[in-house]
């Protein structure tokens, strides 16, 4: 442990303090509240899947539970490993990380397998690895590095343009898979890193205007002139929440069913009496619409509990932003925190009928190895930032 040795040399008066086991493991200064929230969420996910997916795969009632539990354990291990690595090293590795990010996403087009008209994952022996999920973390790690590194180069506008280009390149690749949801998370992650990186408000105003124009172009102008950018289902999903009861069987109908499901849960839930999420009224109940399952089965109590865990998680993440010992940590923690907030809000909002259907999973709740692992790794990085900050306050490190 490099820093510990250095600390002893620098501050001999601390030499008496014998490091605790936690310190030796490098985990003494973890944010326990955040760890609790993360573990609580994955545990609740396994619990919910255990009850809701019993009959999904005939003859294999525990298919989802077993896998999700394994992903969860792997994620927790990954979180602990990352927590004791000094995240600042990722800054040095930014080019490598960025290259890996783009190449892995691009390779999906070549080697990935297609599911439901979308090519977004590699078939690995144990699970389908989806690079774009890990990309949410990798992009933040790399882009934060570029922002810190490029802070002195070029005019503010050029810098903003460069960051945007760096962030949007993988986002566009993901969009072409096509995976609109993850693409949006990458864009939001990019903007968040830029935001914490000090990009002027005026630039954001311009970017905001540009996004608005883009939406108008994609949804209104492009179809009108006969060159639609979005797949039909994507457009349907995006717009149908404005008019949910449009056509039964369509995207709005699904969302309507999700709202009815959650509402039917009332205060304490319907348990096994749940019909909406048990009888296929609500689609994708183990993944994108798992919050509808929670709402129907466990009612306001269960749904509010889950939301509270997310609130705790994001609060702790933002708190880590304020604690970070260096700018890189601020940017990384800020990016991760905003990405988490965005995913939770869009997914839960989608289930509640106030956000469009974008195919964003609910972090750590939705079934899926890539998503669970990537989220835990991101939390591991946050933990690392926290640990490094605590250690630096104690003076046990040097820049």
């Amino acid at each position: 442990m490099m820093y510990a040795t250095r600390a002893r040399q620098a501050r001999p008066e601390l030499f008496d303090e014998r490091p605790t086991i936690g310190e030796r493991l490098g985990l003494a200064h973890m944010d326990w509240a955040m760890a609790f929230a993360a573990v609580g969420l994955i545990a609740f996910s396994v619990f919910t899947l255990g009850q809701a997916t019993l009959h999904d795969i005939p003859g294999n009632p525990h298919y989802y539970v077993e896998r999700q539990a394994i992903y969860g354990v792997a994620g927790i291990v990954g979180m602990l490993v990352l927590a004791r690595i000094d995240y600042s090293r990722f800054r040095e590795l930014r080019v490598g990380i960025y290259t890996f990010l783009c190449v892995s996403i691009a390779l999906v087009f070549v080697f990935g397998f297609a599911a439901r008209g979308s090519r977004r994952a590699f078939e690995l022996p144990f699970f389908a690895f989806q690079p774009s999920e890990l990309g949410k973390l990798l992009l933040v790690l790399a882009l934060a590095g570029f922002v810190i590194d490029g802070a002195r180069r070029g005019s503010p506008i050029r810098r903003t343009a460069r960051y945007l280009a760096l962030g949007l390149a993988p986002a566009v690749l993901v969009f072409l898979q096509p995976d609109l949801g993850t693409c949006l998370v990458l864009v939001v992650g990019t903007l968040a890193v830029m935001y914490f990186g000090g990009v002027p408000w005026t630039h954001f105003a311009v970017i905001g205007g540009g996004i608005a124009a883009l939406i108008a172009l994609v949804l209104v102008v492009a179809p009108a002139i006969g060159h639609p950018v979005l797949k039909e289902y994507q457009e349907q999903r995006l717009t149908s929440f404005l008019n949910p009861s449009a056509e039964p069987g369509g995207a709005g109908y699904q969302q309507d069913q999700s709202m009815v499901a959650i509402g039917a849960g009332q205060k304490t839930g319907r348990g096994d009496q749940a019909t909406q999420t048990r009888l296929d009224f609500v689609p994708e109940r183990s993944t994108d619409f798992i919050f509808a399952v929670i709402g129907e089965r466990y009612g306001f109590l269960g749904a509010a509990f889950v939301l509270s865990l997310y609130a705790l998680l994001i609060w702790r993440a933002l708190r880590i932003v304020t604690l970070s010992k260096n700018s890189y940590g601020i940017l990384v923690a800020g990016g991760i925190a905003v990405e988490l907030l965005f995913q939770v809000f869009v997914n839960v909002g989608m289930c509640l009928g106030i956000m469009p259907i974008t195919g964003i999973p609910l972090p750590m709740m939705s079934y899926g190895g890539s998503s669970v692992l990537a989220t835990f790794l991101a939390i591991g990085v946050l933990q690392s930032i926290n640990i490094q900050a605590r250690l630096s306050r104690r003076g046990r490190f040097a820049w």
């Binding site: 914490f196 205060k267 749904a303 509010a304």
Partner: protein, 639 residues
């Protein structure tokens, strides 16, 4: 490493930026919580209602009911499809005049006047409110086409393919099989019918009722997207679960025995019969006459059918084999004998002089024939059916409750446990001292305090005794098998539609009573003598019967009936009986007159195969000259 001042993220500016994100986060979570509260708490009840009445509608695909088979696999009941004209009253026009016009026109198509249509609908509504009501079954295709072409004129009217029970042999085993019908609203509340929808078909009598949960299939469900009118949208089929047909029920019924028994009853008038395995309680045949065609019980019923079934003084719906309430006459003497032997009143060797009548108290009791049989022991008393012998035993037991106790132990006047639904009180009555006291206390003027005279009557199966052929068969079986009170049953096994056995039924014995082998031997010998030796009461029927049996006649006076109730109980083969047959014929006269010949026809059917083989053997041995004498000798013995 120095940042230029303008590039450095200043602490104050950073705090602002973090605060903004924090504020946005708080706002977003507030939105989510608010929305969640609105959906689940404020609008929860509405959402729950909508979830329950979703915009998809499920249509049931009726599952065919399982078949009922005889023990050899012969089909007793299966299904056929029928086109039924159904009316959904909830979709009829609301305006009374328009409704009347539609119903009138509909009625004219099926030859019913408006009044009858309304009555049929009201009756259907009473059984299962909300379910479509079948107005007429087996409608022709011309009617279907007409209704399809004029759909607009007949809202709420549809022609549906339904399964109806098919009885290949019409009335065969009708009382055993029972009938099916729409589940009633009261039944829907009961546990066995949990999860059923109004209008579903369930068993309503006989084994159809008892084994309903096996016979009833699980309806399939087709889920459709429906529009605001509740009609399936084109191509809107979401999922479809195929129906699971009900499982088949195999009965213990032996079709040859059943046919012979029913034939024998049909030729002799109202009555009933039971044939049962004495060791297992398997019922090989059970019939009641007059009978009915179960098809006729399937609604809609015509007035003539209702009158014929429900208001018929001959009561064809009652299963007299298990619900009849008859005195048994001398067939009861087996029970009297068991009671007196076991209570020490007599032994098989006890001899009593039978001069033809006996005076007990001030009452003179006569033998039915009026002639005495002299000094008789138990075997002879049974052979000749000496009333005086059993009068005497009845007299000697009048102060104790031994006779009643033994009747009770052998299963008279109590539930047999058979797998058929029975009316309350159908278990009958064994009158005794306690019963008389209770009746008098309750104000029954016709009952006198229990005295020797009443016990004497009971000893010969007369008086207030009320039982049925099945209870008598169980009592005889208990003596024949050495003390096991069997549980009579009709269900043998449940098979899936492919014929694999899913469940076997063996209810096991009901209880055990101690039957002394010496007593059993004496009683069986008496029964054998009665049936197959010269002078025996049923020699006329059984002396020529090639298989050795033991049987007892009974002739009971029945209040309100001009002629006596004829009874016959027979155990075969002697001396180790396998089956017992009980036959009773209302107003059939002497036991030997009608019940015994009926029982013989049943035994002939049961032993048919064996009888044929024996007949063949006889012809074979006749060819071998050397053995001719032996055959003659054997024949002489039997004669």
């Amino acid at each position: 490493m120095y940042l230029r001042p303008e590039d450095r993220v200043r602490p104050s500016r950073m705090a602002l930026r973090i605060a903004v994100v924090g504020g946005v986060g708080v706002a977003l979570f507030a939105v989510l919580f608010f929305r969640l509260w609105t959906l689940q708490v404020l609008d929860g009840a509405e959402n729950l209602a909508e979830a329950k009445n979703n915009r998809t509608r499920s249509f049931e695909i009726i599952a065919p009911r399982g078949k009922i088979l005889a023990r050899n696999g012969e089909v007793l009941v299966d299904n056929r499809t029928s086109l039924a004209l159904q009316v959904d009253t909830t979709k009829l026009p609301e305006e009374p005049a328009a409704e009347a016009a539609e119903l009138k026109e509909l009625g004219s198509l099926v030859h019913m006047d408006l009044e009858h249509v309304r009555k049929a609908l009201a009756e259907g509504e009473a059984v299962a409110a909300g379910a479509p009501i079948t107005l007429r079954r087996d409608v022709g295709y011309d009617l279907i086409y007409y209704i399809e072409e004029h759909k607009g004129k007949f809202p709420g009217v549809s022609v549906e393919k339904v399964f109806v029970r098919n009885y290949p042999d019409e009335t065969r085993a009708a009382h055993v099989l029972g009938s099916t019908g729409e589940v009633s609203e009261e039944e829907l509340e009961e546990p066995p019918y949990e999860g059923l929808e109004p209008g579903e078909i369930v068993g309503q009598g006989g084994v159809e009722y008892t084994y309903d949960k096996f016979l009833r299939g699980t309806p399939g469900i087709s889920r459709y997207q429906v529009n605001a009118l509740g009609e399936p949208t084109p191509g809107g089929r979401l999922t479809s679960t195929p129906p699971t047909p009900g499982d088949n029920l195999k009965l213990t019924i032996n079709p040859a025995v059943q046919a012979a028994g029913e034939g024998a009853l049909a030729a002799r008038g109202p009555g009933a019969f039971v044939t049962m395995n004495v060791h297992s309680g398997e019922v090989l045949g059970m019939g009641s006459f007059p009978t009915y065609d179960p098809t006729e019980l399937t609604p809609p019923l015509s007035q003539a059918q209702v009158d014929n079934l429900f208001r018929n003084p001959e009561d064809p719906l009652t299963n007299r084999a298990v619900e009849g309430l008859y005195p048994t006459g001398s067939t009861f003497k087996l029970i009297t004998a068991m009671a007196s032997l076991n209570s020490g009143v007599s032994t098989p060797e006890t001899r009593i002089d039978d001069p033809g009548s006996i005076t007990i108290g001030e009452q003179k009791f006569e033998d039915s024939e009026g002639v005495g049989y002299g000094d008789v022991d138990l075997v002879e008393a049974l052979k000749y059916s000496s009333d005086v012998y059993f009068y005497t035993l009845g007299d000697e037991m009048w102060q104790t409750n031994d006779l009643q106790d033994w009747a009770h132990r052998l299963g008279i006047g109590r539930s047999t446990g058979i797998d058929l639904p029975q009316a309350e009180g159908s278990e009958g009555l064994v009158p005794g001292k306690q019963w008389a006291e209770e009746e008098i206390a309750a104000g029954n003027e016709f009952v006198e305090p229990w005295g020797p005279g009443q016990n004497v009557q009971l000893a010969t199966g007369q008086g207030y005794l009320q039982t049925d052929p099945l209870e008598m068969a169980v009592a005889y079986a208990t003596v024949a098998n050495g003390g096991t009170v069997v549980t009579p049953h009709l269900g043998e096994e449940i098979e899936d539609p492919a014929g694999r056995v899913l469940k076997e039924f063996d209810p096991g014995p009901r209880r055990h009573v101690h039957v002394d082998p010496a007593y059993r031997a004496a009683i069986l010998e008496g029964l054998h003598e009665a049936a197959q030796s010269q002078g025996g009461t049923s020699c006329s029927s059984f002396c020529e019967f090639p298989i050795e049996v033991g049987g007892k006649t009974g002739t009971a006076e029945r209040v309100g009936h001009a002629y006596n109730q004829s009874w016959y109980l027979v155990l075969a083969p002697y001396p180790n009986p396998q089956i017992v047959t009980a036959v009773t014929i209302e107003e059939g006269g002497f036991g030997a007159e009608s019940a015994a010949p009926a029982a013989k026809e049943i035994l002939e059917a049961y032993f048919g195969h064996q009888l044929k083989e024996e007949a063949e053997e006889e012809t074979e041995t006749e060819v071998g000259i050397g053995e001719e004498e032996a055959v003659l000798e054997e024949a002489g013995e039997v004669g």
